[in-house]
């Protein structure tokens, strides 16, 4: 497939695993960058082995739908970086690339001989991003982290959930937020490179990438000394602002009103126009003060209806209402169907596999899926021969010596 992406002139070489690293370069790949993933069966990317999401273990390294979903469009080359010869080959790859990304524990990649100090000697204008849980500096820099732990450190879980229940745990979506942040930072550096010819090093801390989402929560503490806690779906100002039970098993509709007009429309749609004149609900502060009673009345109306029926009724009168959707419901949703959000890719081992389309529509340079997530080392020969000019016999020898492994 012809690459139409805005980044089609860019080559990225990555030394990443799990979710936060791979998805960052995957985003660049959607936008046309050629991404070469350096990996090894000596210590495989754990998303090739296991789905943290479903708990499923994969029999072989090439059948993980999670890996596929997060590594679309990439080329994979095998290099066992514990061997000095492999490091030398990795350096050659870097020398022909624009961007390097890695997400090993801080200190590891310099020990392998591929730290920024070494790499910039080979390629002075390289953009090199290191993504880690806590950052490359500071007392906690070597702390081990996964999405649940660096989410916890960031402040979001403490304010997510119900006040009388434990804070929420978070899984992979937190990694993907860190990944988006890395992709943005790399793109800003690429623009600077294009303007000035200057490359640079970027130290990205995942716990900070998530903490910035709680910026206003920190402002409340700094300005007012308030430590915000969990408040379910409630808003400080708006009411109604909640999810209400609908007909069926675990079916809910979210309803928000931000103005008097919307509140009156909601009352009329519920067939209870008298509520609009009710003293208890006469304005937003009154509704907020009597929120529980109001939510009970709304639930009486929603609980026997299909959640899409409630959505249609309320949207028709200008009230924001959307169902809470499961994976199955998302897959069946007519709007997402029409927009082609779920897409199938053809994977050589898995077969037809569903993934989520890129989250933007660019008119001139569309984001694309050009190939599925690669099998481990699938492009080793191709890349080493055609990009690095290595002879097939040499590649074979390195394979025997487990440099290519």
């Amino acid at each position: 497939m012809e690459n139409l992406g805005p980044l089609k002139t860019i080559r990225v070489v990555e030394f990443t695993s799990a979710w936060a690293g791979p998805y960052a370069t995957c985003l660049l790949g959607f936008l046309g960058a050629e991404v070469i993933k350096v990996e090894s069966r000596q210590r495989p990317d754990h998303s090739r082995n296991l789905s943290f999401t479903t708990g499923r273990k994969f029999e072989t390294l090439d059948e993980s739908e999670v890996f596929n979903n997060l590594n679309l469009n990439k080329l994979s080359v095998s290099l066992n970086l514990k061997k000095p010869q492999a490091v030398e080959i990795a350096k050659k790859l870097i020398a022909i690339s624009d961007v390097v990304m890695e997400n090993m524990r801080p200190g590891v990649i310099p020990r392998l001989g591929l730290g920024y100090d070494v790499v910039r000697e080979l390629k002075p204008d390289i953009i090199y991003l290191s993504s880690s849980a806590c950052g490359q500096t500071g007392p906690d820099r070597e702390y081990v982290g996964y999405a649940p732990t660096f989410a916890a450190l960031s402040g979001l879980p403490h304010i997510t959930g119900y006040p009388d229940w434990p804070p929420s745990n978070f899984m992979g979506s937190i990694d993907l937020r860190s990944a988006c942040t890395s992709a943005f930072a790399i793109l800003a550096a690429l623009y600077h490179l294009r303007q000035t010819g200057e490359g640079q090093y970027i130290d990205l801390a995942s716990q900070e990438a998530i903490a910035v989402f709680a910026g206003d929560i920190f402002m409340d503490y700094v300005m007012n000394g308030r430590i915000q806690v969990r408040k379910g779906n409630k808003d400080d100002v708006m009411a109604p602002h909640n999810c209400y039970r609908c007909k069926g098993d675990d079916k809910w509709i979210s309803i928000v009103t931000a103005s008097e007009e919307e509140w009156v429309s909601l009352c009329n749609a519920m067939g209870k126009p008298e509520l609009a004149g009710d003293e208890r609900f006469k304005d937003m502060p009154a509704r907020k003060a009597n929120e529980e009673e109001m939510d009970r009345i709304i639930t009486e109306w929603t609980q026997d209806q299909d959640y899409y029926d409630v959505m249609n009724r309320l949207q028709a009168v200008g009230v924001a209402a959307s169902p809470s959707l499961s994976s199955e419901a998302l897959f069946e949703d007519p709007h997402l169907k029409e927009r082609g959000v779920f897409r199938q890719v053809d994977h050589p081992v898995i077969g037809k596999n569903w993934v989520i389309g890129p989250p933007w529509r660019l008119t001139e340079t569309p984001a694309q899926f050009r190939s599925p997530g690669p099998m481990l080392g699938q492009h080793t020969d191709d890349v080493f021969q055609n990009y690095l000019g290595m002879a097939p016999e040499e590649i074979e020898r390195l394979r025997t010596e487990k440099v290519i492994y």
Partner: protein, 406 residues
């Protein structure tokens, strides 16, 4: 002298009503782009009326949210729905590289400011529209706030994780995360389009759906049903199979995850190698999954009289992936966040001196994130932009003010 910025010279026009659009341009303003933020005359941006306020006193110049998401921007007031306002808008577009807007589909066209019109006067324009459901599809005109998008995207359905039961509704991520996510996702496409423009000279239109931006963060969970026939729920059937997760302790909670065997072994060391852990039913991962309730009970017993700080430090010293569930106070005082200068001092004309203002998650070696100016007061840069940049005469500016165009 201030160090260089990555996006020096990039000119962005922001015409947004929601937090998502403002957050998108903040990301770029903080890296050096010139962002002109257009606010409605009189009322100003909606975020000015959102908490937190200093001393909880509502004041359009003292919203912590507004001040956080509008750093480094120039602020002007303008009503493009008025004919003269639309004319000025066109002039502002002509001097910009990028226009970010978040109005309902069709609204820009109604004002004669749709992409097809603007492209005629500025073919190199990059225009991004960040709307709840995108520009096409049956819900394109639906109304949705953060909670609605968060619930519909599949994110809400899985929170809070792990729920004790499903009698309570699913929740959104706390705070404004659901508003910030679409801004971040949009910024990636905008930056890529900007890069391509440096090569091709061409602009383009970028359509963004907030719903799909949030779904993109759940791209793995969202395909579980079509690929495996599984719906992940907030009851945490997977999380509950393994010891760990969110663990209450003496003064809060810690979170533990041990995907690797050596991490579990180190966690046992942290607990002092308890006798039960050496029994047959606890030796391998499969057996532990079968006996997860028994093990979890032991972990809770062990944790309950220990502080989160103590567990965190001792655990990490043994390379156990364990961390405290930090509060805002914990983070503002965190040695790690402070060693990295995540919080910086900032002076703001209305708030005064802010000792710890949240900054950014990236440290660029050549073009650091930096504050050049705090968020603008309403209409603060009207004179600079209208008089100095667009060369509108003082008399005309006066007339435009009287007719509430600016």
């Amino acid at each position: 002298m201030k160090p260089p910025t990555a996006l020096k010279g990039v000119k962005i026009l922001e015409y947004c009503t929601t937090v998502s659009g403002a957050y998108c341009t903040k990301l770029m303003a903080d890296l050096g782009a010139e962002v002109i933020k257009i606010e409605p005359p009189g009322t100003g941006d909606g975020a000015r009326r959102k908490p937190p306020f200093q001393n909880d006193q509502p004041d359009p110049e003292k919203s912590g949210l507004f001040i956080y998401i509008n750093t480094n921007k120039l602020g002007i007031t303008l009503d493009p729905e008025k004919k003269q306002g639309a004319e000025i808008f066109r002039k502002l577009v002509q001097r910009a590289d990028i226009l970010i807007e978040d109005h309902q589909p069709g609204e820009m066209e109604k004002m004669g400011l749709g992409y097809d019109e603007l492209k005629k006067i500025h073919p190199g324009l990059i225009m991004a529209a960040i709307t709840p459901f995108g520009q096409t599809g049956p819900y394109r005109n639906h109304k949705a706030y953060q909670l609605n998008i968060s619930q519909m995207s599949g994110q809400g359905y899985m929170l809070p994780l792990v729920s004790l039961d499903d009698t309570r509704p699913p929740v959104k991520v706390g705070g404004n995360n659901g508003n910030f996510d679409p801004g971040l996702v949009a910024s990636i496409a905008v930056m890529a389009a900007l890069f391509w423009r440096t090569l091709s000279g061409k602009g383009q239109y970028i359509g963004m759906s907030k719903l799909e931006a949030l779904m993109s963060m759940q791209r793995v969970e969202s395909v579980c049903f079509p690929n495996s026939g599984v719906n992940m729920t907030r009851l945490g059937s997977v999380q509950n199979k393994n010891p760990g997760g969110v663990i209450p302790c003496k003064d809060g909670y810690v979170v533990l995850i041990t995907p690797e065997e050596h991490q579990w072994k180190n966690f046992l060391k942290l607990m002092g190698d308890p006798a039960w852990s050496r029994e047959d039913w606890c030796l391998d991962k499969i057996e532990r999954m079968e006996n997860v309730e028994r093990i979890q009970t032991e972990i809770l017993k062990w944790a309950k009289d220990k502080t989160k700080e103590e567990i965190f430090r001792k655990g990490q010293a043994l390379s156990v992936p364990i961390a405290p569930t930090n509060t805002a106070e914990d983070i503002v005082n965190s040695p790690q966040f402070n060693a990295r200068e995540f919080f910086i001092p900032m002076d703001h004309p209305a708030l005064g001196h802010i000792s710890k203002f949240p900054s950014s998650p990236y440290r660029f070696s050549k073009t650091p994130w930096q504050i050049h100016r705090p968020a603008p007061a309403l209409g603060e840069h009207n004179e600079q932009i209208y008089l100095e940049e667009l060369k509108i005469s003082r008399d005309d500016i006066k007339r435009l003010k009287e007719s509430a165009v600016i």
